[in-house]
Amino acid sequence: MDANTGYLTTTVDTVVNWARSNSLMPMPMGLACCAIEMMAFAGPKYDVARFGSEAMRFSPRQADLMIVAGWCSYKMAHAIRRVWDQMADPKWCIAMGACASSGGMHRCYGVVQGIDNFLPVDVYVPGCPPRPEAVIHALMDIQEKIRNTYTIGQDYARGPERPAPEPMEPTVLSGAGTAVVTPEVLGAVAGG
């Protein structure tokens, strides 16, 4: 082989995860005021296009990341679940804001006390509403999660007997680098 052609070796998982994590198409499930911050997150100032997620998809068939922004009533829960079920695998979910994560201040009969009562949530974003930076951080967490999954290899090459990868440790993204979060690390970040 001609050495000047140029090639690199990698795994299918790496390529697929790289592609998936940099082309997440969010399904904007905007239910309340958090949706306004979600628009800022997608708009030119915060510019989530840098992360490949600028294409909001209003069809569940084309989306692979659901951002549930705002409080969710019991009546709406069925519609959200239906949209979620229509999204093609693999798919991820962000609970944006206090209301979607826990019911928030809507502690009453009509509001679901956290969308994790009926959806598998990957990332919870605190805030009322969260700033767009927080949503970008959540998106980066989702990207990190995608890059750490082994999908193709587990399905086809190795079979189900391949051991599952180690669960991800929560990490601090600033200051302490990628160190595992411990009280000492947090103290070092706060002190340093």
């Binding site: 019991y74 009546k75 679940r81 239906r82 079920d85 502690r107 009969y109 009509g110 399905d155």
Partner: protein, 219 residues
């Protein structure tokens, strides 16, 4: 199956006479309209309460449609702003329905109130006079369980159709009755598959919601 909800009445509290409302407008002074109503319906008009410069006319529930029609056709109150229900929740009095009307040309506002028994929480619908009453009455029915006789389409406005309670009634707990509102299942029924091309291989995932079969609606 609906539980029987327990409750205690709230004590009666008299309205305190305060200083005159400096923000009261001349638009709410409707003494002449009240006199017209008293002449036209001597038996149906009850107390007229003036509070904060605003007059509230208590009307017999059975005659509310006639009073509204009179106000619309004779007194020019052509605009129905709002209908709503109140749960007074005292031993002597339970429900109230209020009607806010506006005379756009004459620049007048007035409020009608109807008092209802707990045992027979029902009032004639004013949809025949004001079609705008449709959704307001549906909301009032949904939240308080007050029936509007003669309403064309008395369905619930906010809560699911099969919900067993009326949430703005005072005996309804703030956090709701557990299990009265179903959520979708957290995981779909049936086995999960790791195969991304399961459908191509003839496997159909069990749906977690009810939907028509593909093409069913197109026949």
């Amino acid at each position: 199956m609906a539980e029987t909800l327990q409750f205690r009445f709230t004590p009666v509290e008299e309205a305190r006479a305060g200083p005159p409302n400096m923000h009261a407008k001349a638009t709410t002074a409707v003494g002449d309209i009240v006199e017209m109503l008293r002449e036209a319906f001597p038996a149906a008009i009850g107390d007229v309460v003036c509070y904060a410069g605003e007059q509230t006319v208590y009307v017999d529930a059975a005659r509310i449609v006639d009073v509204c029609r009179f106000l619309k056709e004779e007194a020019g109150f052509t605009y129905l702003i709002d209908i709503g229900g109140v749960d007074r929740f005292t031993e002597t009095q339970r429900f109230e329905v209020y009607y806010n009307l506006v005379n756009v040309a004459g620049g007048k506002r007035m409020r009608l109130k109807v008092q209802l028994d707990e045992a027979r929480a029902s009032v004639p619908s004013v949809m025949s006079v004001f079609p705008a009453a449709n959704w307001n009455e549906r909301e009032c029915y949904d939240m308080l369980g007050i029936r509007f006789e003669g309403h064309e389409d008395l369905r619930r406005m906010y809560m699911p159709e099969d919900f067993a309670y009326h949430p703005l009634r005072k005996e309804f707990p703030l956090l709701g009755v557990p299990g009265s509102l179903p959520l979708p299942p957290q995981v779909p029924d049936g086995p999960l598959t790791m195969d991304p091309f399961a459908a191509a291989r003839g496997s159909r995932p069990v749906p977690s919601y009810e939907e028509p079969e593909a093409g069913e609606g197109l026949k």
